[in-house]
């Protein structure tokens, strides 16, 4: 997905049932929650997001697990 800095999106769900998925969901990545893309690290990975009032760092690979709502 292509997000610009400062853009927000709403989460639809997280795919998978492994530790990554569980950890993401526990941190707030559940359906209906709004997420804001803040920026990325010097080499393009990992990425920084703002969710539920705090900042979190995710790798692109983890980001791919997160499905966002359209629109």
């Amino acid at each position: 997905m292509n997000l610009r800095e400062g853009q927000t999106a709403i989460i639809d769900r997280v795919t998978g049932e492994d530790a990554t998925a569980i950890r993401l969901m526990e941190m707030g990545f559940v359906s209906g929650v709004e997420v804001r893309y803040v920026g990325c690290a010097p080499l393009g990975d990992p990425l920084e997001f703002e969710i539920l009032g705090f900042r979190i760092s995710l790798r692109r690979r983890e980001l791919q697990r997160i499905l966002f709502r359209k629109g």
Binding site: T20, A21, L24, G28, A41, P42, P46, S57, L58
Partner: protein, 751 residues
């Protein structure tokens, strides 16, 4: 009659939980061990009114769903299973500026069936962010008492203790998961009971149902029969078909509830004070500026550990030398003296000398962690570390290993993932530590020509030094890569990391952490290092031929001649006034010569002792093994003797080459001796040629010659398996590396 109450502290990371723990227990703390995990058992005590509190600080966690043995300990403690801890109440520490996510684990804790109190910490930070929390509304929603605190300023501590004294009631769950889920839990519970006869808590059963990584399955507490397993997967299928799949059903339900009640308890003011923080973060995590700041900080930390520790280390060195000299003076020569001075004092000294570096490193690490920068550093380094299969958090431990692998390995604790932590620890010793530097310097100065290349931009000696560091790094990358692909193969763990708010570090907390870790090191690794040093001392001391000094003295007849002359002249000077000045001058010259000869003779004696000792014999025996590397048996002894601690090698070489043993790497005499050293069987051929020097340096670069490091590794991994593995793999690599270096060196020089 005192009330005895055990309170367990729980909460997200970065909530100031440790500060609160310290505020509650003061200096009344001790650190212990839970069996089988690396998690520390932090316990404290506090008396308040009629109650004696035992406080247990659990590691910070975002949720009570365990996926590793370390995480499981928290659950075990809370459910009073196998850990000797009987919690009477749980104190949830919550970051007021981060309420939503923090409440997740609180809602889980409420379902444990224990009394719960919440400490709403960091309220000052929340206020700065423009957040106002209605405490009584929060209490009502959660059904537990909530006390506002600012742990770093010790605000609210009394109030908290009072609340705990009043023994709050057990709360009822505030989040209700879907009925379907509760139904399946009940069914599973029945199946569990029928299989094992135990009655598990609802909490535990629901955790098993939710744990799709099946980590809990492996635990002995859980039913292992086929029937239960089938029931479990059946339940999960049912839930999925009903639209409530695990594991998603739990976070969805909980966050739904949290978002529903949040507006009732939290108000955000209009102004957006997160602007300042955003700006700081944009700077510190910026591609260019962020990287520069990061580099500068890393250089600072590195310099600090390398250089700031030096004066302290020198002082310690001197202190132990003085001790040794005093003992020698008081007790005279002999085996017992040597045991005490060269064995015990040297042994203890070799442990204590690491303390300044360890303390400094842990100070910096603690400081960076506490102010929130550490997470940013990991974030910046993650991509690079990821290329070799590590993660960003490995960077600081590996960087510090350039100064000393011991604090580096201990610093690897911040890496949550077990495999990554292990790989980091296993390659840390390859980062050329400061103890290797004396060897590099000595050999480079002795054997590498002091020439400039590239039109004066580089110096061959400097290049060689840097090359040795590079060798370590390159090999480390290779080893990490191989390890991740083979022995420690596993899924790359998620790099989901919170970037905490910046705050002024709590220096008291940092210092206490530093002191604690330093003490742990001394206690744990110290005993082992000590034991091995004594062993090596014994091997280098025994057997002693008592006739040896006499035999050597016989080779120095001149010495007794001189002594006689001095005596005679002394008598003459006393009697005749005329010969006075001349006589004194001659005496002075003679005394000078006497000193010189005596040192030579003493050195010959020590050298001879060493050569005839167990160690010396071993050196001669292994000579055929080291010959292919271009070494002779003397180098062999020096290398063996330095296995417990690399620093020993320079002193040992001094002794072997018949010096007093007080030589250091700067010493010209040792250098000259090395340059002049020749093979025993070919007196024309010099030992220390460029290829030989390089092969020795490469050996040292790659070899695990540090018992202290291996001891710390054992402590951090709880088994001898990994230190032994490290020793074997590094020594093998060192041997191959030295051989390759020597061979290619020879080939290069001849070709």
């Amino acid at each position: 009659m005192m009330n005895e109450v055990t309170v367990v502290l729980l909460g997200n990371p970065n909530t100031g939980k440790s500060a609160l723990f310290n505020a509650l227990s003061g200096l009344n703390q001790k650190v212990g061990h839970y069996p089988g995990v690396t998690v520390e058992k932090k316990q404290g005590r506090r008396r308040f009114r009629e109650t004696s509190f035992t406080l247990i600080d659990l590691p910070g966690t975002y949720s009570l769903s365990p996926h590793s043995p370390d995480e499981k300990i928290t659950v075990d403690v809370l459910l009073h299973q196998d850990t000797e801890v009987r919690p009477d109440a749980v104190l949830c520490v919550v970051d007021a500026s981060n309420l939503a996510r923090n409440l997740y684990v609180v809602t889980q804790v409420i379902e444990l069936g224990l009394p719960v109190v919440m400490a709403l910490n960091m309220t000052d930070l929340a206020r700065k962010k423009g957040l106002t929390i209605d405490v009584s509304a929060l209490e009502k929603q959660l059904g537990i008492p909530v006390v506002e605190t600012q742990a770093n300023r010790k605000v609210g501590v009394e109030s908290l203790l009072e609340t705990l004294c009043r023994q709050p009631a057990i709360p009822s769950p505030c989040v209700s998961l879907p009925k379907a889920f509760n139904q399946q839990t009940a069914l599973l519970k029945a199946a569990w009971e029928s299989e094992t006869g135990d009655v598990p808590s609802d909490f535990l059963v629901s955790r098993v149902l939710l744990d799709t990584t099946d980590f809990l399955q492996g635990s002995s507490q859980f039913p292992s029969g086929e029937a239960f397993r089938l029931k479990l997967s059946d339940s999960r299928e049912q839930l999925k078909s009903q639209g409530h799949p695990v594991p998603a059903v739990e976070p969805i339900s909980r966050y739904e509830w949290i978002q529903k009640i949040l507006p009732k308890v939290l108000t955000t003011s209009a102004k957006n004070p997160s602007q300042r923080r955003t700006r700081m973060d944009r700077f510190l995590m910026h591609r260019v500026w962020g990287s520069l700041v990061f580099l500068a900080l890393m250089v600072l930390v590195f310099q600090a550990v390398f250089q700031f520790a030096a004066p302290a280390m020198d002082l310690i060195d001197q202190f132990f030398s003085i001790c040794g000299d005093t003992v020698t003076a008081k007790m005279g020569e002999g085996a017992l003296t040597s045991l005490i001075v060269d064995g015990v004092i040297a042994g203890v000294g070799s442990v204590v000398i690491f303390l300044p570096q360890i303390l400094i490193l842990f100070f910096f690490v603690g400081w960076l962690e506490d102010c929130g920068y550490m997470a940013r550093a990991a974030y910046l380094m993650d991509r690079i570390m990821g290329q070799v299969g590590l993660n960003g958090k490995s960077f600081i431990p590996l960087l510090s290993s350039f100064a000393c692998a011991i604090p580096g390995i201990m610093a690897a604790r911040v890496i949550e993932n077990r495999r990554d932590r292990l790989v980091t620890m296993l390659v840390a010793p390859l980062m050329s530590c400061s103890a290797r530097l004396p060897v590099y310097v000595l050999l480079t100065a002795a054997c590498i020509p002091n020439k400039s290349i590239l039109w004066g931009w580089l110096n061959l000696q400097g290049v060689t030094l840097v090359a040795m560091y590079v060798v370590g790094i390159v090999v480390a990358v290779g080893v990490a890569f191989v390890l991740k692909k083979t022995v420690l193969h596993g899924e790359t763990p998620p790099f989901v990391m919170e970037l905490p708010s910046y705050k002024w570090p709590n220096l008291l907390l940092v210092f206490r952490g530093m002191a604690r870790q330093g003490w742990e090191f001394v206690r744990q690794a110290g005993t082992l290092i000590f034991a091995v040093t004594i062993l090596i001392w014994a091997a280098g001391y025994f057997p002693r031929d008592p006739e040896l000094p006499r035999k050597i003295r016989a080779q120095y007849p001149r010495l007794s001649e001189i002594r006689q002359q001095i005596e005679k002249l002394g008598q003459n000077v006393g009697s005749t006034a005329g010969n006075g000045a001349e006589g004194l001058a001659t005496i002075k010259d003679l005394k000078g010569e006497e000193q010189k000869l005596k040192s030579e003779m003493d050195a010959a004696i020590s050298g001879s002792y060493l050569r005839s000792s167990v160690l010396g014999r071993m050196g001669q025996i292994i000579e055929p093994v080291v010959r292919p590397l271009g070494w002779d048996w003397k180098i062999g002894i020096a290398v063996i003797a330095s296995f417990p601690a690399r620093e020993v090698v320079v002193g040992t070489m001094g002794v072997i080459y018949n010096l007093s043993g007080d030589e250091d790497e700067e010493s010209r005499t040792l250098r000259e001796h090395l340059q002049g050293a020749t093979w025993d069987d070919e007196p024309e051929r010099p030992v220390f040629t460029v290829p030989v020097a390089l092969s020795i340096m490469v050996f040292f670069a790659l070899c695990a010659q540090c018992v202290s490091t291996l001891a710390v590794m054992k402590r951090e991994t709880l088994t001898w398996r990994w230190p032994v593995f490290t020793f074997v793999y590094m020594t093998t690599l060192a041997y191959i590396g030295a051989w390759l270096t020597y061979r290619s060196g020879i080939w290069f020089m001849d070709g």
